[in-house]
């Protein structure tokens, strides 16, 4: 019954809805860590969308790099420097129970969706047909976009240097 | 090449004056004076010894300058420019003389600016490539603005700013018109050209020229100045140091009239003729309004400044009458006003030097202690209100006679300006030199006497023997 309804379209819309709701929660949340977790949910939902759109490589990257690396960076920052404690007075208030419930609901929806996809052969088939394979992406990356990759590395270097400069401790006795 | 040499020499001498002043105090003015006299002589010899007559424009130099736009460094002379350049030389020397005592701070840089302005003005009168013309047009503004802004009176920055913005904004319209004409030339002949003589040969439709003409007209009307864009002038003249006012009133305003003649009327005769009623109306308003405003002023220099507006109105009216008599009148008025307003401003400077005020209410009864000064003041005021026998009368008479043949009503209203000029002339002279003596002042020194008497003599000579100027045809 559930599987009948589960076409690629409907799954996509569901994931999209989850992403939107989760993003809304990110934006409106008051607790930093909660918001970050909602962000993870949103990213996961988007990853599902990617997957459904035939970009499994991108979906994987989304989960690994985005949700995995970047958000962890956030979490580290929040936890290490105690940023979570600083809440602006005007942040919207919400009940934590409702938050928990909502987060659970969204995560659950995503889980459900994933299982449906994995278990539904028809969907898998359709997806296979449409996929832009990671191989193609790789060829592109190291073919025409080779320079772009190089430049992206410099971009990361720039981010690194700037971040280092801002974050490094003050030199003792120095005005600058 | 001689003219180019003269202009470069002026700049060079200016720089020299600037630097040498640091070493030998007080040498800049001598240097400026000597250089001006020398170069004026060079110019005279050049003009006299030139083989071709200057009835028509004689192109002297024509060198390619900016190839991207086919812009040339091209200068030419004709009688009109010769006359105006001669006036420039005269007033330049007067300027140095009136600054003799007045400018003590940063004298070196001052004379640099003065000489640079003069170089720019000469450039304006000789340039025939329109880009070059515009170039000089702006270049002469810069040192002039500096003179106002650095050595001016209490509100100098405001005045300099106003002066600069008015002229600059209006000249941008001219620039657009120049570019448009240049590209129209490209459209017609397939070659971009900013050369005046090329443009003269160009046949342009009236629908186009009326806009182009307007672009030029705006710039020149501001410079002239004509009501309602005159409002920079009183401030600039009032706040400028004496030499600045002399140069402004004496020569800079003439560049506006020169532009009207050379570029508006000769380049776009039809469009100008069509525009003549409006221009003449503006001119008449300038005459009457200027005279009326001059009467209301309390400030000596401001009064003279407004009288300049009135006088230059005569020039514009005469030019837009399209009548040869009026045209001659316009040119004589230009010269005459150049001399007489320069004289009045010098007078203002001399008074300012003595009593440190330009306010008429602070003056009065100076005739008692300074009779020579009073006599000259009266003579110059007389020139300003068109006393026959002095140059201004010839100018106004020719202008009005000419205008009357074409536009009687305008001439009659403009003649009311004569009454107005008598009124402000009387106010000017009487409240400064007559009445009870408010304080004693020194009479003219020898240098000042030289300034006043030379100016007066020139006014008188032109007034009694105008053929000096009238013998020129000015390309009519």
């Amino acid at each position: 019954m559930l599987t009948d309804l589960a076409t690629i379209d409907s799954l996509f819309y569901l994931a999209a809805t989850v992403a939107v709701i989760a993003s809304l929660k990110v934006v409106t949340g008051s607790n930093t860590v909660h918001a970050l977790l909602y962000l993870v949910v949103s990213l996961l939902a988007v990853a599902v969308c990617f997957y459904l759109m035939g970009a499994p490589f991108a979906a994987g990257l989304e989960v690994i790099v985005y949700a995995g690396a970047i958000l962890v960076l956030f979490v580290f920052a929040v936890l290490m420097f105690g940023l979570g404690k600083d809440e602006t007075i005007n942040a919207p208030k919400s009940k934590s129970v409702a938050n928990m419930f909502g987060a659970m609901l969204l995560a659950f929806a995503l889980l459900l969706e994933l299982t449906v996809i994995i278990n539904n052969a028809q969907i898998q088939q359709t997806l296979q047909a449409n996929v832009v394979s990671s191989k193609a992406v790789g060829i592109m990356l190291y073919g025409p976009y080779l320079l772009a990759v190089e430049i992206a590395s410099f971009l990361l270097l720039a981010g690194l240097l700037a971040g280092y400069h801002y974050a490094k401790p003050d030199v003792q006795g120095s005005q600058l | 090449m001689t003219l180019t040499f003269i202009m470069l020499a002026l700049l060079f001498a200016g720089a020299l004056a600037w630097f040498s002043e640091n070493r030998w105090q007080g040498c800049a003015k001598w240097l400026a004076l000597i250089v001006l006299a020398l170069l004026a002589t060079v110019f005279t010899i050049f003009v006299i010894s030139h083989d071709q007559p200057f009835d028509n424009l004689q192109v002297l130099t024509r060198v390619s300058w900016i190839q991207t736009f086919n812009i040339e460094y091209s200068i030419a002379l004709d009688q009109l420019s010769i006359v105006l350049i001669t006036l420039t030389w005269l007033l330049a020397i007067i300027c140095v003389l009136v600054s003799w005592q007045e400018i003590k701070q940063k004298a070196g840089f001052y004379y640099f600016n003065l000489l640079a302005t003069i170089a720019g003005i000469i450039g304006v009168f000789v340039a025939v490539d329109m880009f070059l013309f515009f170039f000089f047009w702006e270049v002469m503004l810069l040192p002039m603005t500096a003179i106002i802004a650095i050595w001016g009176h209490e509100k100098r920055h405001f005045a300099a700013l106003k002066f600069f913005i008015f002229t600059q904004v209006s000249s941008l319209f001219m620039l657009v018109a120049i570019i448009a004409t240049g590209y129209f030339h490209l459209l017609v002949t397939g070659e971009l050209s900013f050369h005046y003589l090329d443009w003269l040969a160009l046949d342009m439709p009236l629908s186009l020229t009326q806009y182009l003409m307007l672009g030029f007209f705006i710039a020149f009307a501001v410079k002239l100045p004509s009501v309602p864009v005159h409002s920079w002038l009183p401030d600039a003249h009032t706040q400028a140091p004496t030499a600045g006012s002399v140069l402004l009133a004496g020569v800079l305003l003439k560049t506006g009239a020169y532009g009207l003649i050379r570029f508006v009327i000769f380049l776009f005769p039809q469009a100008s003729m069509q525009f003549a009623p409006i221009a003449a109306t503006l001119a008449v308003i300038s005459i009457v309004y200027g005279a009326k405003m001059a009467f209301a002023q309390q400030d000596f220099k401001r009064l003279v400044a407004y009288s300049s507006i009135s006088h230059m109105g005569f020039v514009m009216l005469a030019l837009f009458a399209f009548n040869s008599i009026a045209f001659q009148g316009a040119i004589i008025t230009m010269i005459a006003h150049g001399l007489s307003s320069a004289a009045l401003f010098s007078m203002a400077g001399m008074i300012y030097l003595r009593i440190h005020s330009r306010n008429l209410t602070d003056m009065g009864g100076f005739w008692q202690s300074a009779p020579r000064m009073g006599g000259f003041a009266l003579a110059f005021a007389g020139a300003a209100f068109g006393l026959p026998g002095l140059a201004n009368f010839i100018g106004e008479f020719f202008s009005l006679v000419g205008v009357f043949q074409v536009m009687p009503t305008f001439a009659i209203i403009a003649a009311l300006g004569l009454i107005g000029s008598a009124i402000y002339g009387m106010v000017l002279f009487q409240s400064s030199f007559q009445g009870t003596a408010k304080q004693e002042i020194l009479d003219l020194s020898h240098r000042e006497l030289l300034i006043c008497s030379s100016l007066f003599l020139m006014l008188l000579v032109i007034g009694l023997y105008p053929n000096l100027l009238l013998n020129f045809s000015f390309g009519v």
Partner: protein
């Protein structure tokens, strides 16, 4: 299954030589990292950076007359981009000199500063040569991120965090918008190269066209943000003020040049102007910039803010060229843009050079260290002319150039713009330009007047200045005058090549 036929990029010697300057910079960055590992010295790294840039500049000279050459599908080098990159490199060199003056007094070694500077230059180098949205985006980001690092570089400054944050967040937002725009464009056209033909069907499909136009709009607003074109200009004065002076210079010159060149490239290649809406959009932006920039700059006392506002207006003027662009006069358009940009760059370099000199001179010494003078007010220029005429002369020339007065390059630049606009009969734009210039004079001239005011402080003395500064000042005076009087010297480098 549609796959675009990407020609396999072959990075042969010829192509490498074409992007040699960029490569030199990139290589220089890598080497600099090694250098840091070997020896941390202010002097060494500064000299090294300077050398890298000089070599890149030399390498770039030969490219000035090059035929358009594609380097993979991402980059395309032509004479225009080479010219623009030369401008970038020159400004970077001047900025380097200023930065060195600014940093050398400190004990701490600021390798990252120089690295970021090189990264910035690299980003600009990529931008000016980019021929693809991807490279555009990367260059854009490289520029932005390096700038974010540099803007807040002076960490002791009160404004460090503020300006850094402002620039980071706004620039990130702007780039997001731009990316969204690119995504929309891409989703309609299916190709991200500038050379791609925009399919004809989008004229007929309403929804697609809507997305396409919105894409262009978002894309342009992203670029407009970087160019600080009104109404996306809000960050400009604040960040200009907060950033260290050499960095402000970078923002005023490099980022403007690079962004504008890429904007023109993109608009030219993709023929966006075929859409009336785009033209209207650009027109609104241009008019708003010309007016708002000039009006906001009035009565401004802080010099850097003033320059910031004036840059808004200048970009507005320059935008006119893009609006009236037409296929026939493409090379003329390029000439106008590049000439105006070089005039703009020279003027900004001149002003900032003097500003930096004043700042370093007016800084007070606290112990061994210099307390850098942060706020540079108009009144700090007072009487400069009588104390150091050369510096003041440079400022005068620069200000006149910005105001577009003859004798200076700025005037020729304005002449180009007016020529373009006149040919295209864009009278309303011309009127706006004239009004804008008029308002502009009301704040440019007071700067000059201030220079001439009677001196009251004698802090800055001519003889104390380093020789290289004098050399730079005099050479810029000469350059400014020479190029203002003989603009052909510059324009002959901006040769037209068949695209």
């Amino acid at each position: 299954m549609l796959t675009t036929a990407h020609s396999q990029a072959s990075l042969n010697i010829e192509i490498i030589s074409v992007i040699l300057p960029q490569l030199i910079i990139a290589f220089g960055i890598a080497l600099a990292l090694l250098l840091v590992a070997w020896k941390r010295s202010q002097r060494t790294i500064a000299l090294f950076t300077g050398a890298v840039m000089l070599i890149a500049l030399v390498a770039n000279v030969s490219l000035l007359t090059i035929q358009p050459t594609a380097v993979t599908q991402l980059l395309k080098v032509d004479s225009y981009s080479a010219f623009a990159f030369s401008l970038v490199l020159i400004s970077a060199l001047v900025s380097l000199h200023m930065s060195h003056q600014f940093l050398k007094a400190h004990i701490e070694v600021h390798d990252e500063y120089y690295l970021l500077l090189m990264l910035l230059v690299l980003g600009a180098g990529i931008l000016v040569t980019s021929n693809h949205f991807a490279s555009l985006f990367l260059g854009f980001e490289l520029l932005s991120i390096s700038l974010v690092g540099l803007v807040g570089y002076h960490r002791e400054s009160n404004f460090s965090v503020e300006s850094g944050f402002k620039y980071l967040i706004l620039s990130a937002t702007a780039s997001s918008f731009m990316l969204l725009g690119i995504a929309f464009i891409y989703s309609v056209t299916g190709n991200m190269s500038f050379d791609a033909n925009v399919p004809n069907e989008i004229y007929h499909q309403q929804d697609l066209r809507l997305f396409f136009e919105m894409g262009i709009l978002l894309f342009i607003s992203g670029i407009a943000f970087k160019l600080s074109i009104a109404p996306f200009h809000f960050w400009t004065p604040d960040v200009y003020q907060g950033a260290p002076t050499p960095v402000t210079l970078l923002m005023a010159t490099i980022s403007k040049v690079a962004m504008f060149v890429v904007l023109v490239k993109c608009v030219v290649a993709q023929n966006y102007l075929l859409y009336d809406n785009v033209q209207l959009l650009l027109m609104i932006l241009a008019v708003a910039s010309m007016l708002m920039g000039n009006i906001l700059a009035l009565k401004q006392q802080n010099l850097k803010r003033l320059i910031g506002y004036s840059s808004i207006a200048h970009m507005g003027y320059l935008l006119i060229v893009v609006i009236v662009l037409s296929g026939e006069s493409l090379s003329f358009t390029w000439q106008s843009v590049l000439f105006y940009l070089s005039a703009y760059v020279v003027a900004n370099l001149s002003i900032f050079m003097v500003m930096a000199a004043i700042q370093s001179q007016c800084s007070s010494k606290v112990g061994q260290l210099l307390q850098y003078k942060e706020e540079l007010l108009l009144s700090d220029l007072r009487g400069l002319f009588w104390r150091i005429p050369s510096h003041a002369l440079l400022v005068i020339l620069a200000v006149l150039s910005l105001a577009g007065i003859p004798l200076t390059m700025g005037f020729i630049g304005k002449f180009y713009i007016l020529s373009q606009a006149t040919i295209a009969h864009a009278w309303w734009l011309i009127v706006t330009l004239v009004i804008g210039s008029g308002i502009g004079l009301a704040y440019y001239l007071p700067i000059i007047f201030t220079l001439f005011e009677k001196e009251d402080c004698t802090e800055l003395q001519a003889n104390k200045r380093p020789i290289i500064e004098h050399f730079l000042v005099y050479s810029f005076i000469i350059i400014g005058l020479l190029l203002g009087i003989f603009p052909d010297v510059v324009s002959q480098f901006i040769v037209s090549n068949p695209m």
